[in-house]
Symmetry: C2
Subunit: 224 residues, 2 copies
């Protein structure tokens, strides 16, 4: 028996569940590939359809528009990260060790996880770095939020906030610090690779430097 990790997705994100058919899985797979290779702006349903070998109309039966598709794959990623977090911090009692695990999990470039057939997590991680914030930096963020599009992200942020409070129950900004860690793990990675003078990691191009920076930032501010 083959174990497959299934991540439960918000049904408002799709018209037809892409997990339930070959075409659907191909849509996810090729979307990740294309967005990774050319960026979200250059990504169109027409190109996607061509890459899969179906028609534009075929894609539109699964997703209303490309923004919802982006939110879908991003939500999937956060769900997957949440699973990794639970898995990796399970049985660890020392909260500071947990928090370090979290920082590493969020900062480190990911390897493809074979338990999820049609999703390449390494590419997805790169997409999150470059396109992640475009999920919510829109004019319709309020509407999207009401439909719970950002729940996986918020859940993760809450989970990280909980760990921060375990480290220091008196710390006043656990959620803001959690969202800072999550966002900066990605943004400092982007800067390191594309605008290195905005960081102090220029030479190494190594995520371990980002991890050190974030650990120092976090543990000094919560004072443990």
């Amino acid at each position: 028996m083959k174990l497959e990790l299934q991540i439960k997705m918000n049904p408002s994100l799709y018209l037809r569940d892409p997990e339930q058919s070959e075409l659907g899985k191909n849509i996810i797979k090729h979307s990740i590939q294309l967005i990774h290779d050319n960026g979200f702006e250059a990504f169109t349903f027409k190109k996607l359809a061509e890459s899969i070998g179906t028609t534009e109309a075929g894609v539109y039966r699964y997703f209303e528009n490309k923004h919802k598709l982006l939110v879908y794959i991003i939500s999937w990623y956060w769900g997957w990260i949440q699973f990794q977090l639970n898995y990796q911090t399970n049985n660890i009692s020392e909260p500071t060790i947990k928090l370090k695990k979290v920082i590493t999990l969020l900062s480190k470039n990911v390897e493809d996880d074979i338990t999820t057939g049609h999703v390449d997590e390494a590419q997805l991680h790169q997409i999150l770095i470059s396109e992640g914030s475009k999920a919510y930096l829109t004019n319709h963020v309020g509407k999207d939020n009401k439909q719970q599009f950002f729940k996986p992200y918020k859940d993760l942020c809450n989970a990280v906030g909980e760990i921060i409070l375990e480290c220091n129950p008196k710390y006043k900004y656990p959620h803001s610090l959690a969202s800072t860690i999550i966002e900066m793990a990605h943004l400092q990675n982007f800067f390191m690779n594309h605008l290195p003078s905005l960081t102090d990691f220029s030479k190494s191009k190594d995520e371990s430097e980002i991890i050190k920076y974030l650990e120092e930032l976090v543990f000094n501010t919560i004072r443990v």
Copy 2:
């Protein structure tokens, strides 16, 4: 004699200098208004032209495309912030006071500055919060960077990094911390207003809470 603040812009950003004509100034003014009101995605040169009372072709004579126009107004903003920083920290010898001023300058909602006729800085600040990162989160960030499109942002980041080093010459990540401050001043503001559960400021909707959070973060990590 009326004093007018002029910010020197990178000529690669435009085809014709918008500061040199009424139409040009109107393009800047109405762009800020429209992007502020409807977001960058919904912003088109056609709508802009209609709002000004000119034609699409008229706008294209000034800017090659809407991305360059966005980078233009964002660069203008960073230039203006740099001026404000120099002005406000001039004659302050104590670096920690300087750094606090910087955090406040970046976090606080801005008032319109009357010395710049056609630019509404308050709206521009809001644009930076929602659209700022879209200037560089593109597939062509490398090309844009080579053309120095992000120089004002980098200069600011350097200046903030310098102040951080004045506070603690041994601190290892002045640039990363500077870019973290700049980005988080905006992002925590966005979260506070649109995704409040990602922050700890939900009730107040007051930037002074963000300032406190950032000050604690920064001064604990540089240990002064």
